[in-house]
C-alpha cells in the first residue's frame, strides 16, 4: 500500500517535471537529433554561432516575457529595434561620440516602449491596439528619418579609435578566455546570458517581479493591496523597449549599417518563444527559464534547418509544427 502511493507520487512528479521543463526536453531532443544527422551542426563553433544568432530574438523575448506576464503584449518591438538603430546611426553620422550614441539610442528605445505603456494605462487602450499604433508609427518614423534608405559604413564614420572599437565590439567582438587555446565567446551571446540571469533574478527574487505577476494575474486585486499597477505596466513596456533597442544596436554593429526595415516581424518570433516557454498569454503565469528554452528552440531550428539545406518555405512550416506540438504538450495550459 505504502509502496503504491510512493510510486504514484513519483510518476506524478515525473509528469510535473515534464510539464515544467517540457520546452527544455524538446530542445534537447532537437539538438541530439540534429547532431546525430549532421556533422556541421555539432561543431562547437556552430554552437557559439547559434548563440550569436539567438541574441536578437533572445533579448526581445525577455522583454516580451515581462510584458506578457503583466497581461499585455508588445507588437512594437521590431519597430523599436529599427528606430533606435536608426537614431544611433544618424548620431554617428553627425559625429557624436559612439558611446554617447549608443546610450542615447538605448534611452530612446526605453522611452519609445514607455509610450506604449502610457497608452495602455493612462489612455486605457488595449495592449494589442496600443502597440499596433506604436509599431506602425515607429516604423513610419524610421522610414522618414532615412528616406527609406540604409545608412552604411558606420564603424568607418566614427572618428575616435576607441569609439570605433567599442561600436564594433558590441556586435562582433569576442571574449577571449585564453589567448593560446583560441577559445572565445561572442560578446552578444555574453550580453544575452547576462540579461537572462538578470531577469531571472528580477522576476523571481525581487518584489518588483512579484508585482508583475500579481498585476498580470488579477490587476484589480493587486491594485487593492497597494500595487501601483499602472506603474508596473509602464515599466514592463520600458523594459521591452530597452531590450529591443539593445538588440537593434547589436544588429547594426554586426552588419555595420542601419536600415529602416530592420526587425520587421521580430515580434512574432519573440511571442512564439514566450509561448513555447509555457508562459500564459493571459498573464500572471510563466517563467523566464521557459523563454530561454523557447528562444533556443527557435534558434536551433533556424540554424539546423539552414545547415540541412531545407528551403525557407518548408522551414516555416516545420517551425509552426514544432511550436504547435510544444504548446499542446504544455501541461499547464
Amino acid at each position: 500500500m505504502k509502496n503504491g502511493t510512493t510510486a504514484t507520487k513519483s510518476t506524478k512528479k515525473i509528469g510535473a517535471v515534464i510539464g515544467e521543463y517540457g520546452a527544455f526536453i524538446a530542445l534537447i531532443v532537437l539538438v541530439v537529433l540534429l547532431s546525430a544527422i549532421n556533422a556541421d551542426f555539432r561543431q562547437p563553433s556552430n554552437f557559439t554561432n547559434l548563440l550569436r544568432q539567438a541574441t536578437f530574438n533572445g533579448l526581445i523575448a525577455v522583454g516580451m516575457t515581462c510584458v506578457i506576464l503583466s497581461d499585455g503584449i508588445d507588437l512594437s518591438v521590431g519597430s523599436i529595434f529599427a528606430l533606435s538603430a536608426i537614431i544611433c546611426a544618424k548620431l554617428i553620422m553627425v559625429g557624436v561620440p559612439a558611446v554617447l550614441c549608443v546610450l542615447i539610442a538605448l534611452v530612446a528605445g526605453t522611452l519609445l516602449g514607455g509610450v506604449s505603456g502610457v497608452l495602455v494605462t493612462k489612455g486605457r487602450l488595449q495592449p494589442f491596439i496600443a502597440t499596433l499604433i506604436t509599431m506602425t508609427a515607429y516604423r513610419g518614423l524610421a522610414m522618414i528619418f532615412t528616406n527609406g534608405k540604409p545608412i552604411s559604413r558606420l564603424a568607418e564614420s566614427i572618428s575616435s579609435e576607441g569609439g570605433s572599437f567599442f561600436f564594433k565590439a558590441l556586435g562582433k567582438g569576442n571574449l577571449a578566455f585564453s589567448s593560446n587555446t583560441g577559445i572565445s565567446f561572442p560578446i552578444p551571446a555574453f550580453i544575452l546570458i547576462l540579461v537572462f540571469v538578470l531577469f531571472y533574478f528580477i522576476l523571481n527574487r525581487t518584489t518588483f517581479g512579484r508585482r508583475i505577476y500579481a498585476t498580470g494575474s488579477n490587476a484589480k486585486c493587486a491594485k487593492l493591496v497597494g500595487v501601483n499597477t499602472d506603474q508596473v505596466k509602464i515599466i514592463v513596456y520600458c523594459i521591452s523597449g530597452f531590450l529591443s533597442s539593445l538588440a537593434g544596436l547589436i544588429m547594426i554593429s554586426r552588419v555595420n549599417s542601419a536600415q529602416p526595415t530592420l526587425g520587421d516581424g521580430f515580434e512574432l518570433d519573440a511571442i512564439a518563444a514566450v509561448a513555447l516557454g509555457g508562459t500564459s498569454m493571459s498573464g500572471g503565469r510563466g517563467k523566464i527559464i521557459g523563454t530561454v528554452a523557447g528562444v533556443l528552440i527557435i534558434a536551433v531550428l533556424n540554424n539546423g534547418l539552414n545547415i540541412l539545406g531545407v528551403t525557407s518555405y518548408y522551414q516555416d512550416v516545420i517551425k509552426a509544427v514544432v511550436i504547435l506540438v510544444a504548446v499542446l504538450s504544455d501541461s499547464k495550459r
Binding site: 494575474s217 488579477n218 486585486c221 491594485k223
Partner: protein, 495 residues
C-alpha cells in the same frame, strides 16, 4: 426524482476530501446540506452533477445507477446546479446569458431576439425581480447576477435543483422572493438541495438536513426534530458556545473622521468617526451605497467632496496605495474578483500584500516569507494542503480567511471589512469575530459592513445605517435592535 449517493470517496492529488460521504434526496423535498468550510458540500454536489468524477461509491437516481460525465449530461437528466461561484458571462446581456446555448432561433441559426427577450421577461416577472433583460451583466449588483443565475436554472425543466449558498449575496427582499420561488417549485414536485451557512434560513425553509464533517457523512435529520445547537454540534463535533464572543476593550481616541464625503451619484454627505478599539457596524439594504462609501475612503472610487482625517490630521487619499500608507486596510466583499489572485497560491496571496515584510531592500526573502505564511495558516486555521495550495481550490470560507490574513499582517490602524463572513461557516465566523475582537483590543479602529443584522448587532459598538446613499442614523448598539436598524435602513425615522 429521488437521488441516493452512497459511500462516495474523492481525493484531489493525495488529499482525500470525501470519505464515505453521501446523502439521499426524496421527491419534492427541500434538503439542506450543512458542514464547515471545506467539509466537502460543494465537492459532493459536483460529483453528483459530473463536474468531478468520484473515486468510488454509487449514485442512484430513481433507483438506477448513473454516471454523469458532464454537467450538461446531468442537466439533460433534469439535475441543475447553481454554483457557489457565479458562472456568468459578464460582457453579455441578461437575456443573452439566460439563453446561452439554448437560443430561440428563426432557423438558419438566426437568433430570435424578440422572442428571447419576451420569454426572459416572463421568467423575471414570475420570480418577481426587476432586472431589465437588456442590461449588461457587469452593470448589475452581485445579488442581481445571482438572481439571473437562478432564473437560468428555472428555464430548463429542472427536476432537481441544487443551490450552493444562493443567498450569500442577496438582499432581504430578494431572499424572500427566492424562498417563495423555492417553495412553489417544491409544490410542483421539484426536489431541492440547499447549501447554506445561515442556520435561520435552513430552519425556515428546509424539510430535512444532512451534515458533513471533514468529508464524512455524519447524519440526516428532519428539521422539526432537531435544534440549531444540535446542528452545530454535529457540524463541528463540539459545543461552540457564545456566537458573538464578548469584547472588553477601552475605546480610545478618534482615529478616523470622515466629513461630508460625497460621490457624484452613489452617496452624499457621509460623515462619521471611528475610535481606536471600536467596532463600527455599517448596516443597510443591498445597494444602499455602503460598499461604495468604503471604496471611496480607500481611494478606489473618486469623490466630488469630503474630507478624511486620520488621527486628527487631514489626509488626501486618491488611490489604494495612499490609503494603505495612511494605515487603512480594506477587505472587499468580492473576494473572487477583487480579494484574491485566484490562480495563485495561498503563499503568493499573502506575500503580495506584505511585500515590505517579506523582503529586504526589494529582494524577496524566502525565510521571512515562509515564516509569515506558516504563521498565517496556523493562526487563521486556513484549511489547505500547504502554502502552495492554489486559492481557486480552497473552499469559500478558507478563501475568506486568506484575504483576512493577508490584510491583518499589514498591521493597519483602520481596518474596513466589507461582508467579512459571507459564505463562512459558523465555526470560522466565530474565529473571524475573535480576530476582530483581537484587533480592537490592539487599538485598531474597525469598520464592519454587513448585511447580516444579528452579526452587526452582536459585534458592533455603534451602528451606522445607510439608506440610498445617505447616513440615516448612527446608534449605540446597546440601544439598538433589529427593528430600529431596519426602520433606518428603509429610510424611516426613529420616534
Amino acid at each position: 426524482m429521488n437521488i441516493e449517493m452512497r459511500g462516495i470517496n474523492k481525493s484531489f492529488a493525495t488529499n482525500q476530501v470525501l470519505k464515505n460521504a453521501g446523502f439521499d434526496l426524496k421527491d419534492g423535498e427541500i434538503h439542506a446540506l450543512m458542514g464547515e468550510n471545506g467539509a466537502g458540500k460543494s465537492t459532493l454536489m459536483k460529483i453528483l452533477t459530473g463536474v468531478y468524477s468520484k473515486d468510488s461509491g454509487t449514485i442512484l437516481v430513481d433507483g438506477k445507477e448513473v454516471h454523469y460525465k458532464s454537467p450538461q449530461e446531468a442537466e439533460k437528466a433534469g439535475i441543475v446546479f447553481i454554483y457557489q461561484e457565479l458562472n456568468v458571462l459578464f460582457d453579455l446581456t441578461v437575456e443573452q446569458n439566460l439563453f446561452m446555448g439554448k437560443e430561440i432561433t428563426k432557423g438558419f441559426g438566426l437568433c430570435d431576439r424578440k422572442a428571447m427577450c419576451k420569454k426572459a421577461q416572463e421568467i423575471m416577472d414570475r420570480m418577481g425581480v426587476h432586472i431589465p433583460v437588456t442590461a449588461v451583466m457587469s452593470d448589475l449588483s452581485v445579488g442581481q447576477q445571482q438572481m439571473v443565475e437562478i432564473c437560468k436554472a428555472l428555464m430548463v425543466d429542472a427536476k432537481v435543483l441544487i443551490m450552493d449558498e444562493p443567498t450569500a449575496a442577496l438582499t432581504q427582499s430578494e431572499t424572500e422572493i427566492l424562498f417563495q420561488v423555492i417553495q412553489s417549485l417544491r409544490e410542483k414536485g421539484v426536489s431541492i438541495v440547499y447549501i447554506s451557512h445561515r442556520m435561520e434560513e435552513i430552519f425556515e425553509l428546509c424539510d430535512r438536513i444532512t451534515i458533513l464533517r471533514d468529508g464524512e457523512y455524519i447524519g440526516t435529520r428532519y428539521i422539526k426534530d432537531i435544534t440549531m445547537d444540535d446542528v452545530v454540534r454535529m457540524m463541528i463535533g463540539r459545543e461552540i458556545g457564545e456566537r458573538y464572543p464578548k469584547r472588553d476593550v477601552e475605546i480610545g481616541a478618534e482615529v478616523l473622521r470622515v466629513e461630508g464625503l460625497t460621490h457624484q451619484k452613489l452617496f452624499r454627505d457621509v460623515s462619521f468617526t471611528v475610535h481606536a478599539g471600536e467596532v463600527l457596524g455599517v448596516s443597510g439594504l443591498m445597494g444602499a451605497g455602503r460598499t461604495e462609501i468604503m471604496q471611496a475612503i480607500f481611494g478606489n472610487l473618486p469623490v466630488v467632496a469630503g474630507k478624511i482625517y486620520i488621527d486628527g490630521v487631514e489626509v488626501k487619499i486618491h488611490n489604494p496605495r495612499q490609503a494603505i500608507a495612511a494605515g487603512i486596510g480594506f477587505i472587499t466583499e468580492d473576494r473572487k474578483t477583487e480579494g484574491l489572485l485566484l490562480e495563485k497560491s495561498v503563499e503568493e496571496n499573502i506575500e503580495i500584500a506584505n511585500l515590505g515584510k517579506t523582503s529586504r531592500k526589494g529582494i524577496r526573502s524566502k525565510s521571512l516569507r515562509t515564516k509569515l505564511v506558516k504563521e498565517a495558516i496556523e493562526e487563521f486555521h486556513i484549511k489547505c494542503f500547504g502554502p502552495e495550495h492554489e486559492c481557486n481550490n480552497l473552499s469559500g470560507g478558507n478563501q475568506q480567511k486568506v484575504v483576512l490574513a493577508k490584510w491583518i499582517y499589514t498591521e493597519p490602524k483602520i481596518l474596513i471589512l466589507d461582508e467579512p463572513t459571507r459564505g463562512v461557516d459558523i465555526g470560522a465566523k466565530k474565529e473571524i469575530y475573535s480576530v476582530i475582537n483581537d484587533l480592537a483590543a490592539r487599538g485598531v479602529a474597525v469598520i464592519m459592513v454587513s448585511s447580516e443584522l444579528p452579526e452587526v448587532l452582536g459585534m458592533s459598538d455603534r451602528i451606522m445605517v445607510v439608506h440610498e446613499g445617505k447616513v440615516t442614523g448612527i446608534i449605540n448598539s446597546a440601544d439598538a435592535d433589529q427593528e430600529k436598524v431596519m426602520t433606518l435602513a428603509t429610510g424611516g425615522c426613529l420616534a
